[in-house]
C-alpha cells in the first residue's frame, strides 16, 4: 500500500445501473468539488438504453487544472453487480474499491493490491426506508455521504447543493441530508478517514462556471437572435434545443401578452427540420436546427440547396460515433469531411469548432452573423463529450454594444434607387450578393429562389458560361469566408520548434495536458488550435514553418488531416496522424504515446526523453 497522499489529483469512477437515478447523485459529487474551488471534470459514459445496462461516471480531480479524461481509476464506486468483475480490474494498483457489502464479495473478486471499502448500502436503506423507490434513490445519496467523509469533502457544501436541488420541493431536503448522514456515519464508525486520496479547498476557479456545451449553445442561440428552431430528436443534440427552449421560455416571452418571441417545431425528420430552418431564414428570421451524424447525412440534400441558392442557415452537429447508428452515446469528431463537402455536386461549407462551453455560447451566436453575412449554411461542430458532459469553463460573455450582423439585405428605400435588382450579382467583388426579404417592396426585389442553375438575376439558365460564373463566384465567397471565421489560437508568439501539434474541439484539453507533460520531460512543441473551416492563412503558415505537424483528432480516417492536405495542398508526409476513435474522449497519455512512436529520434536526441 502506497503511503503517498494524493491531494486534489485523482480519478473517481462510479459504476451504476442505467436508470437508477445515479447521474444526479454523481453530479452532486462533482459539483461539491467544484464548489470547493478545485478543478474537476465529470464524464458520463452511458449506454444507448433507458434502463438496466451498465453506465459509468468518471470524475477527474486535478489541481493543475487538466480537464481531459484520464485513464486509471484511483477510487471505484461500484454499485452494479453486472460490471463488478471488470470494474475491479480497472482500479489502479494502490487504489480503492467501494462496494455494497450487503452481499459478501466472491473470493475471485479479491485483489491484494487494492483496498476494499464495503458499506452495506442495501441493508441500510432497507432498515431506513419502506418505499421501494426511496430504497433505490437514497442508495446513491448514501454513497455520496460516505465519499464526503472518505475524501474530506466539506459536508456544508453538500448540504447547500441538496437545498438548491430541491428548491420548491423543500420536503425532500431533510430526507436527502439524512441519507448523506447515514453514509457519513457508517464510514466514521467503521473506517479510518480520510483516505490517502483526498480533496482540500482551493481558490483555483475564480469566476469559472460548470456546464455542458449543449446548454451553452442553446443560450447562445437565444442571445444570437434565433427566433425559429426546428429539430428532430437525436442523441446527443437533443439537450441543445431543450436548452434553447428553457431560456427562450424564460427571457423571450412578452410580459404583457404572454406571447412568445420565438417558435420551436419538432419536425417529422431531419430533412424537414433543416427545410424549416431554411424557409425561416429565407424569410428573414434567424433560424437553426441541431442534430448529430445520422441527421447530417439526411440533411445533405437541403445543404446543397442552401449553398447553391445562397440562403443563410445555422446547423449544429453534436458529433457521435459513426458510421451508421454507430455508438450513439459515445463521442467522436468524425463528421468533418461530410460537413465540409456535404451534398452532391461541388460544395464547400463553413463550420466552427468550439472546445469549451464558453466557446459553444460565443460561436453559436457567431454562426448567425456569419450565415447572414455569407448567405450560406454555417455549422457548429461540437461532439457528445462537449455537448453532454459538464466542463469547467470561462463564464459566458456578451458585449453590450454588440449588434447583429444581418449581412447584405436591401430595404425598400434601397430598392427604389436600383434600376434592376440582381439577386446574384457580385456588386462588391467579394463573392457575396445582395438579397431581399419577401414582402419588402411592391414591385422591386422579388426573385425566384431555386436549386436549379440560375443567372445573376435568379432566372433559370442552362447556359454553361453563366453556370461557371456562378460556381466560381461561390468559390470567391468561400475565400471571403476565410477572413470572417474565428482565427486559430497559436500557443507561441513565434515558432521555436521543428515539430508542431495541431488540434481542435475537445481534443484541445488533452493536447494541452500532453504538451505540459512533454515539457516536463524536456520535449517541446509549438501548437495551434483550429477553430474554423475554411482555414485561414495562419494555419498554412504554421504547417509551413514546421518539419512535422502532429494532427490530433478523434476519428479513424484522419479527416482533419485530409482537409488540410486537400485545402492547403501541404505535403501529406509532413502531417502525422494521432487518432483516437474508440468512442471515449482522448487522453493526454494516448496523445503522448502516439507522438513518441512517430517522433524522429533526432528530435529526442538532445532531450532527456522518457517513455510514458
Amino acid at each position: 500500500m502506497s503511503l503517498n497522499i494524493k491531494v486534489n489529483d485523482f480519478v473517481v469512477r462510479f459504476a451504476n445501473v442505467n436508470g437508477t437515478g445515479s447521474a444526479s447523485a454523481n453530479h452532486m459529487f462533482a459539483k461539491s468539488i467544484f464548489r470547493m474551488g478545485i478543478p474537476v471534470t465529470p464524464k458520463n459514459i452511458f449506454p444507448s438504453n433507458i434502463q438496466g445496462l451498465p453506465t459509468w461516471y468518471d470524475v477527474r480531480i486535478s489541481e493543475k487544472g487538466y480537464l481531459g479524461r484520464k485513464e486509471g481509476v484511483d477510487l471505484m464506486v461500484c454499485m452494479n453487480p453486472q460490471s463488478m468483475q471488470k470494474d475491479i480490474a480497472t482500479v489502479s494498483a494502490g487504489g480503492y474499491f467501494l462496494y455494497d457489502s450487503t452481499k459478501v464479495l466472491h473470493s475471485d473478486y479479491i485483489r491484494k493490491d487494492i483496498t476494499y471499502i464495503g458499506i452495506p448500502i442495501t441493508d441500510i436503506c432497507n432498515k431506513e426506508y419502506s418505499d421501494p423507490r426511496q430504497r433505490q434513490l437514497f442508495k446513491n445519496i448514501i454513497y455520496v455521504g460516505a465519499l464526503s467523509t472518505l475524501l474530506d469533502i466539506e459536508f456544508g457544501v453538500l448540504e447547500a447543493l441538496v437545498s438548491e436541488q430541491f428548491k420548491g420541493k423543500e420536503k425532500l431536503i431533510a430526507p436527502n441530508i439524512n441519507a448523506l448522514q447515514l453514509g457519513v456515519k457508517y464510514v466514521q464508525e467503521h473506517y479510518s478517514y480520510p483516505l490517502n486520496i483526498r480533496v482540500e479547498r482551493r481558490d483555483l476557479l475564480k469566476d469559472k462556471i460548470l456546464l455542458n456545451g449543449n446548454k451553452a449553445a442553446g443560450i447562445g442561440a437565444v442571445y444570437g437572435g434565433a427566433t425559429v428552431a426546428s429539430w428532430y430528436p437525436i442523441t446527443p443534440s437533443t439537450s441543445l434545443v431543450e436548452g434553447y427552449e428553457k431560456y427562450a421560455e424564460k427571457y423571450r416571452v412578452d410580459k404583457e401578452t404572454g406571447k412568445k418571441n420565438f417558435a420551436i417545431v419538432q419536425a417529422e425528420d431531419e430533412l424537414a427540420a433543416l427545410g424549416m430552418a431554411i424557409g425561416a431564414n429565407w424569410n428573414g428570421a434567424r433560424s437553426f436546427t441541431a442534430t448529430s451524424g445520422p441527421g447530417l447525412s439526411l440533411m445533405n440534400e437541403f445543404l446543397g440547396l442552401a449553398y447553391f441558392s445562397e440562403i443563410p442557415v445555422v446547423l449544429v452537429d453534436v458529433q457521435r460515433s459513426g458510421p451508421s447508428t454507430g455508438m450513439p452515446t459515445r463521442t467522436q469528431q468524425s463528421d468533418l469531411l461530410m460537413a465540409a463537402y456535404a451534398s452532391h455536386g461541388d460544395t464547400k461549407h463553413v463550420f466552427l469548432i468550439p472546445s469549451t462551453p464558453a466557446e459553444c455560447f460565443e460561436m453559436m451566436a457567431d454562426t448567425f452573423d456569419l450565415a447572414e453575412e455569407l448567405q450560406t449554411p454555417v455549422m457548429l461542430l461540437t461532439d457528445l463529450d462537449l455537448g453532454m458532459n459538464d466542463h469547467i469553463s470561462e463564464p459566458l460573455k456578451w458585449n453590450p454594444e454588440r449588434q447583429y450582423k444581418r449581412g447584405k439585405v436591401l430595404t425598400a428605400e434601397q430598392l427604389d434607387k436600383l434600376d434592376r435588382f440582381g439577386r446574384y450579382l457580385d456588386s462588391d467583388n467579394d463573392g457575396i450578393p445582395y438579397r431581399t426579404i419577401p414582402g419588402t417592396h411592391p414591385s422591386k426585389g422579388s426573385f425566384f429562389t431555386r436549386g436549379s442553375s440560375h443567372d445573376e438575376y435568379a432566372v433559370y439558365s442552362e447556359d454553361s458560361p453563366t453556370y461557371v460564373r456562378i460556381m466560381d463566384r461561390l468559390l470567391k465567397k468561400f475565400e471571403t469566408a476565410k477572413s470572417l471565421v474565428p482565427k486559430p489560437h497559436l500557443y507561441q508568439k513565434e515558432n521555436k520548434n521543428k515539430s508542431g501539434l495541431l488540434f481542435f474541439g475537445t481534443t484541445t484539453q488533452s493536447a494541452e495536458e500532453a504538451m505540459d507533460l512533454f515539457k516536463e520531460q524536456g520535449i517541446e512543441f509549438d501548437a495551434i488550435q483550429i477553430k474554423a473551416f475554411p482555414f485561414n492563412e495562419t494555419v498554412a503558415e504554421f504547417i509551413e514553418a514546421h518539419e512535422t505537424v502532429f494532427v490530433i483528432e478523434q476519428n479513424r480516417d484522419a479527416q482533419m488531416r485530409t482537409l488540410l492536405v486537400n485545402e492547403l495542398e501541404v505535403d501529406p508526409k509532413k502531417l502525422k496522424k494521432v487518432l483516437n476513435f474508440d468512442g471515449t474522449p482522448i487522453t493526454a497519455d494516448f496523445i503522448m504515446n502516439q507522438i513518441l512512436t512517430q517522433l524522429p529520434k533526432s528530435y529526442l536526441k538532445n532531450k532527456e526523453a522518457v517513455a510514458v
Binding site: T227, K259, N261, F262, A285, E301, P395, P400, S443
Partner: protein, 350 residues
C-alpha cells in the same frame, strides 16, 4: 410558338381595388407543353388573386420539383418564389410562415411531389394546420421523366404505352380529411368557374387548405384507358355543389332561405355562398365528406368542389402562441436578453 412575352396592355384593361390589371399578376412565359392543365391552374391563380386585390409582393409562392413545381415562375412575378427540393416544399413553407405570419403562403405541388417522395411532409404540414393554400396539380404521372405512373394513378388506369397500373391510387383529399385538414377541395383544371372561387376561399381560410386539382398531362397521360385524361375526367366529374366567393365589404343583397344554399362568413370578412347539389353531404361535417368521397369512388365518379371546411380551427401560430409581430421583424432589443441576465445565468452554473 413565341419566346417573348408581350408587354403590351390595352389601356382600358379592367383594374382591381389596388389599381392593378391582371398583367401585374402574371408570370413569365410558360415552358410547359401546349395544353397542359397546369397552365390553366396558373391562370386561375392569377384570376383569383387579381379579383381579391391581393398585393402580389405579400404572397410567397413555394414549390417542390416536377412540372407542377415549375409553374410558380409562370404566375405572380411580383411575388417572391421558392422552388425547393423534391417533396420538401411543406417544410420550407412551414419555416417561411413561422418567420412572417403576415404573408399569404401559396404552395404548389404535384402528385409525385406530394403523394410519393414528399408524403411525409404533406402529412405533417396538415397535422400542424399551417396557414397556407396547398394546390396539388394532379395528373397521375411523372411528366418530366416521361410518363411513369405516380402514386395517385388509379388501379387499372392505362398508360400511353399500354401498361396497366396495378396499384391502388392514393386519394389525397380523403387522406387530408382523415389527417385533420381544415379545408379540403377537389377540382378540375378545365373548370375555371369552379376553381377560381375555391382558390379564393382557400386563401381566405385561416389554416391549411388543400385543393387537389385534376390536371391532365397532354403528353403522357391523355390516352384512352387513362383515368386522368381530359375526356375521362370531363365525363366523370360530379360536383358537390357550387361555390361563390364574395369579397369583404360587399353588400349582401340576397338572402337564401332554401336548405341547399348557405352563406359562410370567413375570418377576413369575406363570404362563401355555397349551393349544395347533394342532399346527404354537409361541408362542415367530416363524416359526410368522407362518405361522399367513398360513394364517388364506388360509382367511378370524381367528386369536385368544396369537400370539407372547418373555420374554427387553430392554425400553427396560434397553437404555438407566437407574438403578433412577425418574428422576422423583431430586433436585438427584444431578442437579446442582455448582459445583466447573462450574469444571472452564469451564476446558475457556479
Amino acid at each position: 410558338m413565341t419566346y417573348i412575352k408581350s408587354k403590351f396592355a390595352h389601356p382600358n384593361l379592367p383594374k382591381n381595388k389596388l389599381g392593378y390589371t391582371r398583367k401585374e399578376y402574371e408570370g413569365s412565359l410558360t415552358t410547359l407543353c401546349a395544353g397542359c392543365g397546369h397552365d390553366s391552374i396558373g391562370a386561375a391563380i392569377v384570376e383569383a388573386c387579381w379579383e381579391m386585390s391581393i398585393e402580389p409582393h405579400k404572397v410567397a409562392k413555394l414549390s417542390g420539383i416536377g412540372c407542377s413545381s415549375k409553374t410558380p415562375a409562370y404566375f405572380l412575378n411580383n411575388s417572391h418564389g421558392f422552388n425547393s427540393v423534391h417533396g420538401r416544399m411543406p417544410s420550407v413553407a412551414t419555416g417561411a410562415n413561422l418567420a412572417n405570419k403576415d404573408l399569404i403562403y401559396l404552395g404548389v405541388s404535384g402528385d409525385g411531389d406530394s403523394a410519393s417522395i414528399g408524403m411525409g411532409q404533406f402529412v405533417h404540414v396538415i397535422r400542424r394546420n399551417l396557414n397556407m393554400t396547398y394546390i396539388v396539380m394532379n395528373n397521375g404521372c411523372y411528366g418530366l421523366t416521361k410518363g411513369q405512373d405516380s402514386a395517385t394513378a388509379d388501379a387499372g388506369s392505362k398508360s400511353k404505352a399500354g401498361s396497366v397500373n396495378m396499384f391502388e391510387g392514393i386519394d389525397l383529399c380523403g387522406l387530408a380529411i382523415e389527417l385533420g385538414a381544415t379545408f379540403v377541395a377537389q377540382s378540375f383544371s378545365g373548370d375555371k368557374h369552379q376553381l377560381v372561387p375555391l382558390i379564393q376561399a382557400a386563401i381566405s381560410h385561416p389554416g391549411f387548405a388543400l385543393i387537389n386539382v385534376l390536371s391532365p398531362c397532354v403528353t403522357f397521360n391523355n390516352n384512352v384507358g387513362s383515368t386522368k385524361s381530359y375526356d375521362y375526367v370531363r365525363e366523370h366529374v360530379e360536383a358537390t355543389g357550387t361555390l361563390d366567393y364574395v369579397p369583404p365589404m360587399t353588400e349582401i343583397t340576397t338572402t337564401y332561405t332554401d336548405d341547399e344554399t348557405k352563406m359562410v362568413e370567413m375570418h377576413d370578412g369575406s363570404w362563401l355562398r355555397l349551393h349544395k347539389l347533394s342532399q346527404t353531404w354537409n361541408p362542415d361535417d367530416k363524416i359526410s365528406a368522407i362518405n361522399a368521397l367513398q360513394h364517388s369512388h364506388v360509382k367511378n365518379e370524381i367528386l369536385t368542389g368544396l369537400l370539407y371546411m372547418n373555420n374554427e380551427s387553430k392554425e400553427l401560430h396560434s397553437l404555438l402562441n407566437t407574438t403578433d409581430i412577425p418574428l422576422n421583424k423583431l430586433n436585438e432589443s427584444v431578442l437579446c436578453p442582455g448582459v445583466e441576465i447573462l450574469e444571472k445565468i452564469n451564476s446558475e452554473f457556479r
